[in-house]
Amino acid sequence: MEPMSLTGNRPDEPPFESLMFNEEIQRLIALPPAPVGNASSFTAILELGPTQAMELLHWPEPSESSNPYVNSVDDGAVLFAPTSSANTGYGANCLAFSAGENGSSPGASSASSPKVKKEIVPYSASDWSTWTHPAVSDTAPESKVPGSTKRKVRDQLDKGSEKKKKNESSQDAEALPYVHVRARRGQATDSHSLAERARREKINARMKLLQELVPGCNMITGTALVLDEIINHVQSLQRQVELLSMKLAAVNPQIDFNLDSIFTPENASLSDGNFPVPMTWSDIQIGGSMEIYQQQGHFPSFQHSVWVKEEGSSFVMPEASHITSISSANGVPLDSRQLKMEM
């Protein structure tokens, strides 16, 4: 069979072919962003004959990009990954091994994976772990209607699992052409385990994001405890919101009537000073926002003055003159600094 014969040829060809191959790979990398309407024949895209494609299939182990495409020649259908937003949803569905998350294509993927495995068998002689392909061949035509994004999952005897992360990031950001799942040494490589592992790694990535979000979660190891912290944090935040809303409600009835007049009487009484104050709103860019608020003539003076003051006091001492000029231009004194002082 071809693969077996080519295996013998590998040591001879690579030095020469690798150059050609890298170009192909780079071209392939450039390709995915451009949506490929009908991705049925990758060979057309590669601009190679089928036999050449087969060669590429079998010897370029290092290249992950072309292999999935190449392998599917056998299936007669290649799914490329136009990165259009329309595909994102389908691509997410196609992340077959997140089976059960999106119900559309896992059936298709599982249907095709047995078929794909037959091709994997002869290849395993080369000591590479099995390849798995999510759906493609049979259901490809129907599923490709919107120029769908398909993910190719491929295993290698590699220990890194970082490629897997592209999975979740691509799902979240925009559709990437492919996803690579690494099978760790000694781990099962059937599609179910792969799916499970892919899903598990996605979950771990999200957990890490959550850990960064929730203060004090970095030290904790273990999903359960981290989840505990997250739950506590959410509950405390919700309780804070309730408390604050009650406070606001207590304060509110007195506000609504005299919003405009609230600050005007205060304006005369309060003196502006240049105090360095702790800021609630940090990193405020005065320039742009000042223009924004000045331009909104219809703005109720309450908010207007509030924000002017907020922005004024956000600048520490050196900007005091600037703030003074701004506030005098608006006819609003710098109450906020005093307010902040009292905080």
Partner: protein, 206 residues
């Protein structure tokens, strides 16, 4: 096998790998930073607070005739705040859509839900991937329980898979943090300004 080693080396050295790793890192960072930036930016906070005040004005002008009770006033404010927060999310997250939708269906569904709860609805979110679990972590009741609790806490996330739930929870937490910051500042400003107003009025009267 020699070919095996050869390919391992090639694999390690290919620039393709590094470029892909970079891409992956950038996208992972962009994903998390998207959430962060959306809810952490000062402009977002300001916009939220402003809209909140406007909404509160509107509701208080509406409610002034009926004269809401003290406790209900707090609830009203909280609902308004949550709704404004959900609006700020621009409908891209599940919890925001759930908050906005719940307002429409609130009264109707509450009755139905009470009936269902009385009948003991034990419908729990299905366990993700019940078969072929390579890793047993999710099977531990500890994690599963907490996932359920979390799904109850985040609005509109009852029966969704864990991955999506964690994503929603992240966005929700960031939004809540922004909400707390905004409302804290708002109450400070308002209460102090009111204190000043009252103080000045009393001093002027004196």
């Amino acid at each position: 096998m020699d070919s095996n080693n050869f390919f391992h080396d090639l694999h390690a050295d290919t620039s393709l790998e590094s470029s892909r790793k970079k891409r992956r890192k950038i996208e992972a960072e962009s994903h998390s930073s998207e959430t962060e930036i959306k809810w952490k930016s000062e402009s977002a906070q300001r916009i939220y607070a402003v809209k909140l005040v406007e909404a509160l004005q509107r509701t208080s002008s509406q409610n002034a005739p009926p004269a809401p009770s003290e406790a209900a006033g707090g609830r009203v404010v909280r609902d308004v705040a949550d709704r404004v927060l959900a609006m700020a999310a621009k409908g891209r997250t599940r919890w925001s859509r759930a908050i906005l939708a719940s307002r429409l269906r609130l009264t109707m569904l509450r009755r139905h839900r009470k009936v269902k709860k009385a009948s003991g609805s034990a419908s729990r979110p299905r366990k993700p991937l019940p078969t072929a679990a390579e890793d047993r972590k999710n099977r531990l009741p500890a994690v599963g329980n907490r996932v359920k609790i979390l799904s109850r806490l985040v609005p509109g996330c009852k029966g969704i898979p864990v991955t999506n739930l964690l994503e929603e929870a992240g966005d929700y937490i960031a939004a809540l943090q922004m909400q707390v910051r905004a409302m804290t500042a708002l109450t400070e400003i308002i209460s102090v300004s009111q204190g000043d107003r009252l103080g000045s009025s009393s001093s002027s009267q004196a």
